[in-house]
Subunit: 107 residues, 2 copies
DNA sequence: CGTCGTTATGCGCATACACTCATAAAAGCT
DNA sequence: AGCTTTTATGAGTGTATGCGCATAACGACG
């Protein structure tokens, strides 16, 4: 049984992934390798200020990192954790739907 | 690159885990095997109505299930997904702290 | 130094939701 | 049927935060 502090940290982490905007940024960066903010605006349709804030949160959590290229900032996803988590969840969603399908066919 | 719909589902799922109360309920059930609501009130300190609602959400997501024992309802955690997710996150947190420690020692 | 282009931040709005209290619904007992 | 115990739900409150607008800070270049 995890300690309350650990539970708090877990939930804080999951909260980062609980927003489609942030998850989209993460997946986009993972998919494209690295992008500048202009590209992320283009890809997601969010405002510059919003993207900047969300990237800041993800950076503090160590999920993305940036390097400056002159005046621009190039962002990239830092690790495979999010992909792994999403894969597990996707698997679970698939299992659920398959079970529903099965019970529908059987019933 | 996951579709927007899939990203939405992922984030909805992670949102379930983004609240310490729900995560605590899940871990408690996993730890104790199965419990009634009175036990969960005792263990978590939340109000009965709140616990009932959170269990409802977790049940709709297929993370917990219940069986009635007379007037009481016995709840139990349904699968290992949450444990696996938490283990991955914990691993990542540990790595982060180790890296910070290292850089502190080196700097 | 002033201007331009890019990113960060103060502010405000709207919404979502965690949480509780009060109450209804359900199930067992006499 | 009435009473008790347990769970579910309607209603309200307070807080957190997603999101954009405007603007400030920062870096490059003339």
């Amino acid at each position: 049984m995890p300690s309350p502090q650990l539970l708090e940290e877990f939930s804080q982490f999951f909260r980062l992934l609980s927003e489609p905007a942030r998850l989209q940024l993460l997946c986009q960066l993972k998919h494209s390798g690295s992008m500048d903010v202009a590209g992320l605006i283009e890809a997601t349709g969010f405002s510059q200020s919003h993207i900047s804030r969300q990237l800041g949160q993800l950076q503090r959590a160590g999920l993305v990192s940036c390097e400056r290229d002159g005046v621009r900032t190039i962002w990239s996803a830092d690790n495979d954790l999010v992909d792994d988590l999403c894969a597990l969840v996707q698997n679970r969603l698939r299992q659920r739907l398959e079970a529903q399908l099965q019970s529908l066919a059987a019933g």
